[in-house]
Amino acid sequence: MELIFSIVIGIMYAAGVYLLLRRSIVKLILGIIFLGNATNLLILLAGGLTSGAPAFIEKGSGMVSGRVADPLPQALILTAIVIGFGITAFALALMYRFYQISGTDDIDQVTED
């Protein structure tokens, strides 16, 4: 499972970087989304994968018993997803405004003046 995760994360990072290096702003934003999700998966992997054991505690007992998933990476990812979502929304708004002003999606066509 770890191996599959690693490969998927690698592919997502590669795809993200590739998209970032394109000239189109839409692809730039897609690249950012890819990088963000790859990072989220990386956190999940680094925190340790535990399949089929949710982070629940038996009712009545104050301690965890047996094998449970670590809830902290999941909490971190949840926060990161929310933040990433907000930033993507802002990036899309910025892109739209950029397109309105310059009439192009191509970053290289635009120069400062």
């Binding site: 925190g47 340790g48 930033i87 802002f90 400062e112």
Partner: protein, 497 residues
């Protein structure tokens, strides 16, 4: 009861909410923004005195014990930075009353500034690595919006670069947090400091440290990662640039100092070489590019980079005196750098241009203003007895003590070039005659709301220099707390060992 150290986060948040109710009423907006900033400064000073007297202040949110809950902690370094952020917040909110045009006041400038201050203060106060990330995001989202608030083409262009680079830096930061958690199983800074002193150095730790270094390096605009800064910082109005120059890159440096003194202590040899090299290159390249520019804002923007180099060199020495120099320099730089941008705003207000080729003769027409513009520039260049002189002196002495001759020599040399670029602004803008060919709109009067922050900050530059000793002592104590974090660890984790 709400703990004192939560107030620097809660006050800007309350200001933000309050301001949202009065979005169209500019005067009310300004009043509450200034009031909020003032209260925040007072609270920060209170925290500084309290920390200085009674030691490190800690609050555990929701009363969860230390490594599990969210820790808010103020040591001396945090407290010093909080005072700086309060000071800059107050100066900018006063200056912006007449330093920004009305469209910006209606376009949510003050609420966004409150969010920015909240993010900055949160980053200074948090005792948890992941919360640091969250606060970083809060402040960069506010800064994206501030940067692109005007909606001009140049701003969109600068904003796009700024946003992309900062997002990449955040993702590297986040990935590093994931790896750090995977390796150590904790994200509490005090707990990390404790555990990292017990664990052996390994490839995983070095990699994680490097990822943190790159993430903070991008935020602080260090040498190979600085190109976003000159590409974006001159696009918004100078008031907003002044706010950014005072706070944004400095949060990156703050995080770097905290991490590399407290957490990544295994491979200090490696980090020392890296930080000194990068710091040196940052200083040299920043100052050389600054000297070649003719727009005041661009000169000052490249200058931010060069000055960041000094702080990194101070950190790279890894001695108490080196880090103390870095902290003193950081505080001096926040005050002086913001002030030079505010001065540039006044020049623009009088002459209607930032281009040094088009302006001149300010010394003759506005001698009093010229004096208060000379002070921050001379302070930045390091003329004794102003604050920049002592900042550099501390770093140079620390460099000699650590036997780092080369980097100390570079620091002295860069100081000369800094002087050169400041003299350039002075000569072109103030000394030479007004060029007759250029059409400029001469305004005689400068509003007092623009002058007041400039004068106060200039006086602080003098005070930091003339009465340097208490400030140097304070920085030394703050550096000592960072290099020997036993007190910090004990305050947060409450272990009785």
């Amino acid at each position: 009861m709400i703990s004192l150290i939560l107030l620097p986060v809660l006050i800007p948040f309350a200001t933000f909410i309050l301001l949202l109710f009065f979005r169209r009423a500019v005067a009310i907006n300004q009043f509450f923004a200034i009031l909020g900033a003032l209260v925040q400064l007072v609270v920060s000073l209170l925290i500084l005195f309290r920390v200085s007297d009674q030691g490190i202040l800690v609050t555990q949110l929701g009363n969860w014990p230390a490594p599990y809950g969210i820790t808010v902690v103020a040591d001396l370094f945090s407290a010093i930075m909080l005072v700086m952020s309060g000071l800059i917040g107050l100066s900018i909110s006063i200056y912006s009353v007449s330093g920004l045009n009305k469209n910006y006041h209606k376009g949510s400038f003050y609420p966004l500034m409150s969010v920015l201050l909240m993010g900055v203060n949160g980053a200074f106060l948090t005792g948890d690595v992941f919360n640091l990330y969250v606060w970083f995001e809060v402040l960069i989202i506010a800064s994206f919006a501030l940067l692109t608030l005007g909606g001009s083409k140049a701003q969109m262009y600068g904003g796009l670069k700024y946003m992309t680079i900062n997002l990449i830096s955040s993702m590297i930061f986040l990935a590093a947090i994931g790896l750090l958690y995977g390796k150590t199983g904790t994200l509490n800074i005090a707990d990390l400091a404790l555990r990292m002193r017990e664990t052996e150095s390994s490839g995983m730790i070095a990699t994680t440290g490097m990822l943190f270094f790159i993430a903070f390096g991008i935020k602080a605009a260090l040498f190979p990662f600085f190109f976003w800064l000159p590409a974006s910082y001159h696009t918004p109005p100078v008031t907003i640039t002044a706010l950014f120059s005072g706070l944004m890159t400095k949060v990156g440096i703050y995080a770097m100092i905290r991490f590399f003194t407290m957490i990544f202590v295994q491979d200090q040899q490696l980090w020392q070489h890296l930080l000194l090299t990068i710091g040196g290159l940052t200083m040299v390249i920043g100052v050389l590019t600054a000297a070649s520019q003719y727009d005041i804002r661009r000169i000052l923007s490249f200058h931010i980079i060069s000055q960041i180099g000094y702080m990194v060199v101070g950190l790279g020495l890894f001695t108490v005196s080196g880090v103390a120099g870095a902290i003193y320099f950081l505080a001096h730089n926040i005050i002086t750098k913001t002030n030079t941008f505010l001065v540039a705003g006044i020049v623009n207000h009088i002459k209607g241009s930032f281009d040094l080729k088009a302006i001149g003769g300010l010394y003759r027409s506005h001698p009093f203003i010229a004096l208060f513009m000379f002070i921050p520039m001379a302070g930045l260049a390091g003329v004794p007895p102003l604050s920049g002189f002592f900042g550099k002196l501390l770093l140079i002495i620390a460099g000699f003590e650590a036997h780092q001759w080369l980097i100390t020599g570079v620091a002295v040399l860069v100081s000369l070039f800094t002087m050169f670029s400041m003299i350039k602004i002075w000569n072109e803008g103030f000394w030479k005659k007004q060029p007759v060919t250029a059409a400029v709109n001469n305004k005689e009067k400068v509003p007092y709301t623009m002058l007041l922050p400039v004068i106060v900050l200039a006086l602080l530059t003098i005070i930091l220099g003339v009465a340097a000793e208490p400030f140097i002592n304070l920085s030394t104590r703050a550096a000592d707390q960072l290099i020997n974090p036993a007190e910090y660890i004990q305050a947060v984790l409450r272990r009785s060992s």
